[in-house]
Symmetry: C2
Subunit: 359 residues, 2 copies
């Protein structure tokens, strides 16, 4: 069976080259006589893989030396609790922008540990746009200011970041990390589940400014204490060794594409290809506000839920799979992360026009 074009929102398509290397090395990595999966996380051979992956994150994100790079478990959802547990210990208050389902989950979780100030929200319009914010609503004594840089379900993205002054900006970048360059120094903490733009599920990246570490609540589980993880090279216990190896293979591929700088124009080209079809269509209609459109998740509908379903079905028959929208939005969603080749998006754009011509 040939490979399909997989538009899943995450876990998502990965570079074929990375998968082929993994297959080749599965029963024996180099001259070690064992699989990476079988290696002790304390062994020299494994630590070389680990260090290389961290170095690639550092290089591709241009992470300065005063930031710790942690490779953890539990996904972004675990960080929804870890962020307040690690940071909400000054004023005990934090600012949140409620721009989507995951942003909302994060602020509900933070409410267990301190006072949450919702600075802006687009919840009432089903998150179709990044909400406008009023700087007057910012709490100058907040322990941090929280955003979700790209909203996977609703297909929105911050076109500009809020200026939070001396309040550390914390961003859940799960769905657009490394898809475009970000200036890490603008952030206190960046975190991301790996399963969209970094590697397989089961790995979480945290990049945290070192001066923000070491202030966690006493009730913080040891494993969620960023400072302790930083002191132990993310190995308070056994890390997800194979997921880290796979992330390394994917990041090597990204490096060959020129890193975030090299892939950004490709991602813009891919997204524009679909938005152009949508904007010139009688049938398809984008669900996100144009000013907030995501480059990673393109959400749209036809004129009826039945036709949406028919579109998804016919597309799948052509090897364009996982196009069903999230139940909170309905319709169609094309997730086009770094690993989705231009050819896949071209094929989808072509099929959209074909489909419309038969309506």
């Amino acid at each position: 069976m040939g490979r399909v074009y997989n538009f899943a929102a995450g876990p998502a398509a990965m570079p074929l080259e990375a998968l082929e290397t993994a297959a080749r090395e599965m029963t024996c990595y180099g001259d070690t006589g064992m699989s990476v999966m079988e290696m002790s996380h304390r062994s020299k051979m494994y630590l070389a893989i680990y260090d290389e992956t961290v170095a690639l994150v550092k290089e591709l994100m241009h992470v300065p030396d005063d930031y710790a790079i942690l490779l953890l478990q539990g996904g972004a959802t675990q960080q929804f609790a870890a962020v307040p547990m690690n940071l909400m210990t000054g004023s005990g208050r934090a600012d949140y922008i409620d721009s989507g389902n995951f942003a909302h989950g994060a602020l509900v979780e933070a409410g267990k540990y301190g006072k949450v100030n919702v600075v802006a929200s687009s919840r009432d319009e089903n998150y179709r746009a990044i909400p406008a914010w009023d700087k007057a609503a910012f709490d100058p004594e907040a322990d941090y200011f929280y955003i979700t840089s790209n909203n996977t379900i609703f297909g929105t993205r911050y076109a500009a970041l809020p200026d939070t002054g001396s309040v550390p900006l914390v961003a859940d970048m799960s769905s657009n990390i490394l898809s475009e360059p970000y200036d890490v120094t603008k952030f206190g903490v960046i975190f991301a589940g790996a399963q969209k733009n970094i590697g397989p599920a089961g790995l979480t990246l945290v990049v945290a400014r070192k001066d923000l570490l070491g202030r966690c609540m006493p009730i913080t589980p040891k494993i969620m204490d960023w400072q302790k993880q930083a002191e132990n090279g993310s190995m308070i216990n056994t890390p997800p060794t194979y997921a880290i190896y796979m992330a390394g293979l994917c990041l090597k591929w990204l490096k060959k594409q020129g890193g975030a700088e090299g892939i950004e124009p490709v991602n813009i080209e891919k997204a524009n290809m679909l938005y152009d079809v949508i904007d010139n269509s009688r049938l398809f209609k984008g669900t996100a506000d144009p000013a907030s459109r995501s480059r990673m998740n393109v959400t749209f509908v036809t004129d009826s839920p039945e036709r949406d379903a028919e579109f998804v079905k016919q597309a799948a028959a052509k090897g364009l799979v996982n196009l069903k929208g999230h139940r909170l939005v309905g319709g169609i969603r094309a997730s086009i992360y770094n690993s989705m080749p231009v050819e896949g998006v071209k094929a989808l754009a072509k099929f959209m026009k074909e489909f419309e011509s038969h309506v």
Copy 2:
């Protein structure tokens, strides 16, 4: 390069058959046109893999219907916090047996959330034995009673379980789960990091009696709330999808070996082979109390640290690798989990005799 015999304590050797299947299916699973790593965790094709893995756990451990089976992240160390957060909400007290480094870590962590009663400890004798316990020291109102069924570092195992009456017994079984049959109904909760006897690192199994769920502390991170995870099929967020698939492949292999019942005599035979060499040797000396000896981790020393190191080095040259003992014990440790073939242990026993004959 041929495969070595890998005596690592975890991550550890895995069944070659499972690795070969994984290699074959890496770029395309069945007729799906994608890797398991690329599948949405909500997709039918992935849920079939997930359900099969859970069913194998249920079958091989004989888990009754009144127990929830959770596939989580974070390793046993995360459960060190999750156990008290989920259970220490009645009397706010728990009994612990301090039988090793991980047991100790667990009770220190639990101390953040309630009152820990150390019923018995072998810490003063560097954990060379499972400590004897006095039933009079048990707290009849404890919210749970905690043990570590096998101590990886020190090479010890509970030959008999404590009778805790109506107090739920909680066991960290990371290093001997499924190596022998256990009666699940004797336990309130069993948990285990996967990376020794189940599959790759990055996956944690929790088997919990359902009537113990739903009583967690308000400060519990949502992701560590067993009840919420049980209600959501362990998918509060994206699970470690590939690690679950690999665990399924390993459990299928275990089923072919006759499950825990079938592999137990093999594990006893393997352990006895090494203990026999040790007990009949002028050079090698076991470090664990014979009555507490583990079947999974065989720990021993020669007459000097220098000779220990020489042994480890010469063994590695013969393809018997990762035999260095943990720094807390020193010497030599052979971890011989389910996946270590009898031939590997035979080769090690033979080498031990050879090595001794040259001293």
